[in-house]
Amino acid sequence: MSTEPLPPEVEAPEVAPAPPEPEVEPEIGTSLIGTDANKAIRALSRAARSFLLYDVQNEAIRQFLQEYRTAIATALQHGPLVLDVRPFELALHGEVVYLERDRERSLAFRLFRDGVRKLSLGEDVPWEELLRLLEILSIRFTGVRQSEDDVVTLLWKAGFKHIDITAVEGFVPEEEGEGTGDEEDGTARAETEASRRGANQIDAPPDWDLPGPLVGRVGFVGWAPIDPDELAALQEEASSRALANDALTLTAELLRATADPAELIRVDDVLHLIDEVRSFFLSEGQLDQTLAMVTLLETYARRDERLAAELARFSEPAALRRILGSMPPGATQAPPELLQLLDRLPGDHLSVLLDTMGEGQSQSKRAVERHLISHLLRERLDQVLPRIAIAPPPVALDLIRAIKAERRDQAVAILDHIIDRAEPELVEESLRLLAEIRDDELPRPLLLRVLAGPTEALRLHGIERVAGTADRGLFPAVAERLDGEAPSLKECDALGRTLARLDPTRTWVTLRPVIRPQGLVAQLKGGLGVGRVRQLAAVSAFGLLPQAEAEADLRWLAERASEEISSHCMRVLHRRRREGVKHG
């Protein structure tokens, strides 16, 4: 028997490190049919156990589903799969086709423990039934509190047409340990059960359910047809769609009973139910029922702090996450019931929401989050804005959209928090905001931050805005940029021209030594040792200065400087003529 090497790890999309693959059972089978059956069963077992490691939406699950499908289809090409179920193995016509002795991992053990002794898959079994079989086995593998059903009862409920089982009649797992582990027939089972009534025999009182129903006159009894609509209504009551209502009714009636001193039921007896029903409502997105439950608890919470604590749990991050996770695909905003719920519940929902943003990539979840933020931030803008500065770009953008939806006058405030961010999406947003903000609305300090922005696009916009102010007081801030390291020619050009526009005289005095240094040695060096940015900007500035010597100085530099500077000088001279700069 060889052990198949582990397949490469599948990378999980979640933030947490990828969990290990489900461990692989031994590859066995001597015949071709046996080998194929083994592969199919192992694929089924691995898929069923994978839900212990992965969320259902994980990409790895898709792979396991495909493997399951492929392996089963191959095995069924040989005909129906009729498997004998033994404690730790499955056999096909006497050949062992599956073996796993670890009780926790073993598919055979799970089946055997639940009383299954034969499992048959018809060769025409449809994928829907195979999927349902996988679902049933997954539930038995992964559920920790599963005391309601076993494989036999689940399979019976499924009503398969192409999957059949043979189960031990009256099998009760606990009794297997009573003796040798041999199976007992039903008679012995009944005797065993009867023998359990020893010292702790509990009987109903002799007057149970008495007095009986009141009866008086006799009525007529005869066969009568039943309206199909009435039958349909009964069936609807028994369907899972009515479950939420039943759960709420049960909770309400039990809470009412806890207030009755004659009843022995107490709040402690109901707390777990409240927790379970709340989880159910939140997972299913049953907002109406959740609201109703909140109303119910509010009534009782006033007299019992444990119920007040249960009410408060509706405001927990986990609760909000579940609600958001239950939003239907395509949802574009939060349902009114959710807004009502948040308005009713105590707690800082905005903080919780800000903390949960960014979890998961669902578009509908993001849309709902934006809507909720808009709803909650009215007086809480100061809490939201700082988040924009540090949130991941998609979250930051969602927050911005939420704020803009509710408060259109916040462009400056938003810009103030994102102007220093270099991520392309946020730079783009910054530029959009700048386009909306008038010059007179843009505070100087913020304008200077734009000027010093993390990307050229922002800095160019800042330079242009500064030029438009015609404010000589901004000359130093612009001049400071000349000490930067790697701005492009375009940016240097813009800086120089802006300086010239702001204050031509000061530009002439400040930058002439850059174009035409004083002193013989400096002149012989021809501008060597002057910073590139400063020199390029100076050339550009000189293109706009009215001084008569400006052109001569540019020509002088062009004859002595590097190729880049020299070319720029010629371009500027050409532009100067084209723009018709007149001597002052």
């Binding site: 679902e135 039903g186 007529f220 039921i265 159910f280």
Partner: protein, 466 residues
């Protein structure tokens, strides 16, 4: 079948699975298994540690104080997560609620605990409640004693019961046949055995719930499934019930009647199964005890009293809710137990579907009881009919009428030739509403027939009630 799923099929499959698993595991998060494992490991170490300490210290030694408190704390945490705690030792492995506890191989506590339990022929322990500290010490003490000769596990069970540890259950050493040994072929379902199992399980359930154990619906669900397989109207089911106690027979009959109504209403198999289980549990409130006093020293205490009629519904719901985990069946079962004596037109609102069905089934069977009126089967439905729309759901009552007919199973009638027949069958069709199948119980001479004689009363005709 194609070997490859296209992307849409994969998406749909994944979605369908996701929804189903979320529902089935509602209330369980992925971390639950991790926490259970961790706590399970603590329980194993702590329990084994305590048992080993008994070799060198008396139980009243202060050295036991902290270890006992630690074990108590761990059990409390686990109980809070799981409800009932089931510890099973198999060879050197220990499982807590089917999760294997990963023990440090060097410490080998799993194998050692297994060995300690095996001395008493015990392979597993279930805690249906967390024992108080004195009781936990008593449990440790009982395990520490040398195993009794002959039936060590039974002796240990008796010792635990005597100490008041009714919420602790012991199981034998688990052994499964390995490959190669013969396996007895499972028999086809026998209606008589099913009936016996049903009444036996109800009695066992009452005992367990009365001993503060967790509700365990699974065995009852299995027997309900078997009943649904053979059909709730199957002959052998009805005439075997009196082998059990009157209460268990009543409960089983109510379950059979409920499933008949449910089937006639066209409920799904899943709903029928849930209804059957709900019916099996509907009167468990009578297993609870009000005013019970524990034994203390020479004072034997008092077992308490079963709740009165008006409180047994709430008492039953309270017992059923000890089972942890959200499940559709549990919710509907608890609600039905709570409401099953309520009128259809109750001012608080119409009771749930299961409750309305149980009400009809319950009242039918109670009117059969001597204490409830002792009416003959054929007299009951005419007595119930005037209350359709007030006490009873009119549609559900009519469904039962359509199913049982003029001569419900158990009715005794004269044929025209003077034989007495006990009816056994249900209504086959509207034309034979008043003429089911039956068995002769007295022949023309008034004697009990030597062999079973089945008659079709549609052929024979009915003179009147016997």
């Amino acid at each position: 079948m194609d070997e490859v799923l296209n992307p849409d099929e994969l998406d749909q499959s994944q979605q369908a699975l996701g929804k189903a698993l979320d529902r089935a595991r509602a209330g369980e998060d992925k971390e639950l298994a991790v926490r259970v494992r961790e706590l399970g490991e603590h329980v194993v170490r702590q329990l084994f540690g305590l048992l080993r300490m008994t070799r060198t210290h008396e139980l009243d030694n202060q050295a036991f104080d902290k270890p006992v408190r630690d074990l108590l704390s761990t059990l409390t945490h686990l109980f809070d997560l799981l409800g009932a705690i089931h510890i099973v030792c198999v060879e050197d492995q220990v499982y807590v609620n089917d999760l294997r506890v990963r023990m440090d191989a060097r410490a080998d506590a799993g194998a050692l605990l297994s060995g300690e339990l095996r001395r008493h022929a015990v392979g597993g322990i279930s805690f249906h409640d967390v024992p108080a500290e004195p009781l936990l010490r008593a449990m440790v003490s009982a395990f520490a004693h040398p195993p009794a000769e002959g039936t060590p596990r039974q002796a240990l069970k008796d010792a635990l019961t005597a100490a008041g540890l009714t919420a602790v259950e012991l199981f034998g050493v688990f052994r499964f046949r390995v490959s190669g040994e013969s396996t007895a072929a499972p028999s086809t379902t026998s209606t008589r055995k099913v009936a016996g199992r049903a009444t036996g399980l109800i009695e066992a359930t009452m005992d367990a719930l009365g001993a503060d154990r967790m509700p365990n619906p699974l065995p009852l669900r299995r027997v309900v499934t078997e009943i649904l397989e053979v059909g709730p109207g199957a002959e052998g089911l009805w005439d075997q019930l009196d082998r059990g106690s009157p209460f268990s027979a009543h409960t089983t009959r109510v379950a059979l009647l409920s499933m008949l109504i449910g089937r006639a209403a066209g409920l799904s198999d899943e709903a029928l199964q849930d209804l059957g289980v709900a019916a099996m549990f509907h009167d468990v409130g009578y297993a609870s005890r009000e005013g019970a006093l524990p034994a203390r020293g020479d004072d034997p205490g008092h077992p308490g009293f079963a709740p009165p009629f008006e409180r047994h519904g709430t008492a039953g719901a309270r017992l059923l809710l000890r089972q942890r985990g959200f499940h559709q069946a549990k919710i509907r079962r608890a609600l039905a137990t709570l409401q099953h004596h309520r009128d259809y037109n109750d001012p608080q609102g119409k009771p749930s579907l299961f409750a309305r069905i149980l009400r009809i089934a319950e009242d039918y069977d109670t009117l059969l009881r001597r204490e409830g009126g002792g009416y003959a089967p054929h007299e009951i439905l005419p007595l119930m009919a005037p209350q359709a729309g007030t006490a009873y759901d009119p549609v559900l009552l009519q469904l039962l009428i359509n199913t049982l007919g003029d001569w419900p199973p158990g009715s005794r009638v004269f044929t025209f030739d003077g034989r007495i027949v006990r009816t056994e069958g249900l209504v086959r069709d509207p034309e034979r509403f008043s003429a089911p199948m039956g068995v002769v119980v007295r022949d023309i001479e008034g004697q009990v027939p030597e062999e079973r004689q089945v008659v079709d009363l549609f052929e024979e005709g009915i003179l009147g009630p016997a």
